[in-house]
């Protein structure tokens, strides 16, 4: 899965980040058709900067902490990984430090599923949503909320440059209990 650099297990600290975005082939980006909203933003640095595939544009919040990014899906989806792009060198005190990820059916019943602390991150930061139990590999939810609880150097507002949300790919062959892995099976499994 995603590579995480020096994460300490108890506190969920992540330092550094990856300059490159590399995810497994069996994951796909899930949030293209989702509704994205933010708790506040500065004009010109709105929510669209989070999804524009441009690492130079960023979202800047403009209010009290915690700052929130809400992602609402049209139907319950299985999610596995959240990847953020942040840059301590460029953003310094705007860089988020404590992030909490919550999931639920809507604003009324969001539950905290993961909390991580970032330490001077530069690049892509991978946050896996899986639990330890194999039955909890995916989070099946209608809504995801990414909350920035605090920033580096106690900054008030935060910058986030890009966010991607990943989940598993569908089984390309419907009505099958398992997906195929070997070449022989896959070759014969569909007509193009």
């Amino acid at each position: 899965m995603a590579t995480e650099t020096s994460e300490s297990e108890e506190e969920g600290k992540i330092s550094g980040g990856n300059p490159q975005l590399i995810v497994d082939d069996d994951l796909r980006e899930m949030a293209k058709k989702a509704a994205w909203s933010v708790s506040s933003c500065k004009p010109g640095n709105g929510v669209s900067s989070l999804r524009d595939d441009n690492l130079d544009s960023y979202w800047q919040s403009d209010g009290a902490q915690p700052h929130m990014i809400n992602i609402q899906f049209q139907k319950k989806v299985k999610l596995q990984l959240v990847v953020l792009y942040v840059d301590f060198k460029l953003d310094e005190s705007y860089t988020p430090s404590k992030i909490s990820i919550r999931a639920g059916d809507g604003f009324h019943n969001l539950k905290d599923i993961k909390t991580v602390e970032l330490v001077k991150p530069i690049g892509w930061v991978y946050i896996s949503l899986s639990g330890n139990d194999p039955r909890e590999t995916f989070v099946n939810t209608f809504m995801l909320q990414i909350a920035v609880l605090s920033n580096h150097l106690n900054g008030r507002d935060t910058h986030l440059r890009q966010i991607k949300v990943y989940g598993p790919r569908l089984n390309p062959i419907p009505q099958q209990p398992f997906q195929f892995t070997s070449r022989e099976f896959i070759t014969y499994s569909f007509v193009r």
Binding site: M1, D24, D25, D26, L27, R28, K78, Q80, D133, P134, R135, T137, F138, P168, R169, L170, N171, P174, Q175, Q176, P177, F178, Q179, F180, T181, S182, E184, F185, T187, Y188, S189, F190, V191, R192
Partner: protein, 758 residues
């Protein structure tokens, strides 16, 4: 003045100076407005891809050739209704269809694209009966699934037909057989009513010949103008047994007075004959009605007829539609040169347009031939040198009337004797028979048989782009992707400029997951022809292989835009929509594909898959069944049909279907796996386990096999075996979802069993 202008126009057309020809022709029409000149102008426009202009000037015209040209322009502008009413006017149900076989072919296409299959089939068959070398019509019949065996179609009756045509042609005045004949006023020699023309070419019309002899000798020669040897002995020569080498030089078999007009044609034509001959497809020219015959006295112009409409070129590009083209192409084939200059032009243009199908037509283009008799023509004499005058006895049809005066049929300025015609015709037919049978079998998806048939071809034909790509397609349908890859790469080497079948090649590479080769192919195709749907299909496949479905979709949509009659592009769009989970649009795309080609079984399959995902099992079963009916040899379709049946709880039938699938293709492991699945759900665990053990041998690295076995063992409470298999399954790195499922299953293993020591 008129004559000179016409001659100039023809000359320009022959030299591909289209703009010049349009300009001059417009002056001609302004000065001498007549329908014939209009036809010439229309053909200039069609050459220049301006179907709309041709449409406007020919609107409302009644002459058969005008109606034909008008229909071609309507067809290119997609105004199928108008095209149809031009070819068979609603208020004259018994009117003759202009241009004989060509007209029928065009009408067949129109019916095909407006969903009237029976009529289409009828017309294609008519076209073939009038002109047995009209390959394109046979091809369409195969695509519609209504083709008869090639032996019957290209058999003895066809041979007779061709021979008769030859002789009739010989007697008739030089006419252009081309469908888009441009009858110049100049060369118009009327043989009576216009309506006659289509008939003339019919073999049985001996009468014309009788009428002709008188007129014939004089002016008929003019047709000779075009007796330019096509393809001066280039590759085509090898195909034909006929031609005497003379043919190549001959240009005008025109009577002395006309000769001078013709001469210039010579050099031009030969240059043009550089044909893309390797194609072994044979298209025959349409038997253009000899309609207007040049009147002896006046004509001089003979020469330039041009015609080849750009229509044909474009259509071919657009998917080989208008049959007219074939006539054009045909001329190229006439290696022996006879083509009327016009015809020739058409032909050469076609070849130069890199037509994919080269028509190998021998006889039909020899419109100009003149049955020798008393025609004194110096030019002739040369060509005749080789020809022996034989008696008609060699001619099997016994139609000796036409052979009076010696069985010399001037073909391409070379007077050929009857036997050569006969042998020539039969050789072509042998070739067509093999190709036709191969094509028909592969359209019926009897791929192994098709491959055997193609192997019967002589090497020089087998190693051509078209045949090799058909072979590739056959292997592809047999799911033998490696062999297909080999065949396709040979095809690429044989004709690197050809795009036919390259879309299937790109899908083949997609299946083999060869992304380097695929992207190379796509780049090459795009640089060869940016406007061909196949290139964009290949590009789209490239992106799809890298899982970039949105870009792939864009590429496929581009292909659709370029050619909405290219069914496969629609199907591929459908596949991409499904990958993006946009089922509605997927359904729409598949349905558009089916509208173009109802026998495109991939689209039926695609629809079945969508319904399967949406759990609409009835629909799914229906669609898979349709696909199965079209392609009853595909084990993949059978296994999906079985899955659908199983989902409908018709498990008995499902198992039967799976067994059929297993038998159909021993190398396909999927039906066994599916069968095991069904057995598991029927609680027939032992059989399932047996099957899975077999499968394990065949595909030892398939994680789902182990996972399923683990599940079965778990049900039987054989926990250590279950554990073992789950472990194996996990080792083979299944997808994340499966990892989760398997791990969860492992956890649950511990729960009921306290004694387990894991």
């Amino acid at each position: 003045m008129e004559a000179i202008l016409v001659d100039c126009v023809h000359n320009s057309l022959r030299n591909f100076m289209i703009k010049n020809s349009i300009f001059l022709c417009e002056r001609l029409c302004a000065e001498f407005p007549s329908e014939i000149n209009m036809q010439l102008l229309a053909s200039c426009y069609l050459q220049n891809n301006q179907a709309y202009s041709a449409y406007h000037i020919l609107k409302g015209t009644q002459m058969a050739q005008s109606r034909y040209l008008f229909a071609i322009s309507c067809f290119q502008m997609d105004l199928l209704n108008e095209a149809e009413s031009a070819l068979c006017p609603a208020n004259e149900p018994s009117a003759e269809i202009p241009n004989g076989a060509a007209g029928h072919y065009l009408l067949g296409l129109i019916f095909r694209y407006t969903d009237r299959r029976k009529n289409a089939v009828h017309h294609f068959k008519q076209a073939l009966s009038m002109d047995p070398l009209l390959w394109a019509a046979y091809e369409e019949l195969c695509i519609l699934g209504a083709a008869e065996e090639a032996n019957a179609v290209f058999g003895d009756a066809a041979a007779l037909c061709i021979q008769k045509q030859y002789f009739h042609h010989g007697l008739a005045s030089p006419n252009i057989h081309m469908c888009n004949e441009d009858h110049n006023s100049v060369s118009a020699r009327n043989f009576g009513s216009e309506g006659n023309s289509p008939r003339q070419l019919k073999q049985t019309q001996g009468n014309n010949l009788r009428d002709i002899p008188g007129n014939y000798h004089g002016a008929s020669m003019m047709g000779g103008a075009a007796t330019q040897p096509l393809n001066s002995g280039s590759s085509n020569m090898s195909f034909y047994s006929t031609p005497s080498p003379m043919a190549t030089q001959l240009s005008g078999v025109a009577p002395p007075p006309l000769c001078r007009n013709l001469q210039p044609n010579g050099p031009n034509l030969s240059a043009l004959s550089a044909d893309s001959s390797p194609r072994s497809t044979v298209n025959s020219t349409i038997q253009a009605p000899r309609r207007k015959f040049v009147d002896e006295g006046k004509l001089r112009k003979i020469s330039g007829r041009l015609f080849s409409d750009s229509g044909p070129r474009r259509s071919t590009r657009l998917a080989g539609e208008a049959g007219a083209i074939t006539s054009m192409g045909a001329t190229t084939v006439v290696a022996n040169g006879i083509s009327n200059s016009s015809r020739y032009l058409g032909g050469s243009k076609l070849s130069s347009a890199a037509l994919r199908s080269v028509t190998i037509r021998k006889g039909q283009s020899w419109a100009n031939e003149n049955l020798d008799e008393g025609i004194h023509n110096e030019a002739f004499d040369d060509s005749r040198a080789n020809v022996t005058s034989t008696t008609s006895s060699s001619f099997p049809t016994g139609d000796t009337r036409s052979l009076e005066g010696g069985a010399n049929v001037p073909i391409g300025g070379v007077v050929m004797n009857g036997t050569r015609v006969v042998t020539g015709a039969s050789e072509i037919l042998v070739l067509l028979r093999t190709l036709g049978e191969g094509y028909r079998l592969s359209c019926m998806y009897r791929c192994q048989d098709a491959l055997d048939v193609y192997l019967k071809l002589p090497h020089k034909h087998y190693n051509t782009g078209w045949v090799l790509s058909q072979v590739g397609k056959a292997y592809f349908e047999l799911v033998d992707y490696l062999e297909a890859d080999r065949a396709f790469s040979l095809a690429r080497r044989a004709s690197p400029y050809s795009l036919e079948g390259m879309d299937i090649y790109s899908t083949n590479l997609y299946h083999l997951k060869e992304d380097m080769k695929l992207s190379y192919l796509a780049q090459e195709l795009i640089s060869t022809d940016r406007l061909a749907p196949q290139s964009w299909c290949a590009m789209g496949n490239c992106y799809s292989l890298q899982k970039d479905h949105e870009t792939a979709l864009k590429n496929f949509q581009r292909a659709v835009q370029l050619s909405s009659r290219f069914a496969y592009a629609h199907t591929l769009c459908g596949h991409e929509f499904v990958a993006l989970e946009d089922f509605e649009n997927g359904i729409k795309s598949y349905q558009s594909a089916l509208r173009v080609d109802a026998r495109h079984y991939n689209s039926w399959y695609g629809l079945g898959m969508i319904y399967l995902r949406q759990e609409k099992y009835e629909f799914s079963e229906h669609h898979f069944r349709m696909a199965f009916q079209i392609n009853p040899h595909s084990s993949v379709i059978m296994s999906y049909l079985g899955t659908a049946l199983h989902s409908l709880r018709r498990s008995e039938e499902a198992i039967e279907m799976m067994e059929k699938a297993i038998l159909a293709d021993k190398k396909n492991p999927l039906p066994m796996y599916q069968k095991a699945n069904i057995l598991v759900s029927l609680e027939n665990f032992d059989e399932a386990l047996e099957l899975l053990e077999e499968l394990k041998e065949y595909a030892p690295r398939e994680s789902s096999v182990y996972a399923l076995m683990g599940k079965i063992y778990k049900r039987h409470n054989m926990h250590d075996k279950a554990m073992l298999h789950f472990g194996l399954a996990l080792d083979l790195k299944p997808s994340a979802t499966d990892v989760a499922t398997i791990k969860a299953a492992i956890e649950k293993l511990h729960v009921p069993d306290e004694f387990e020591d894991l």
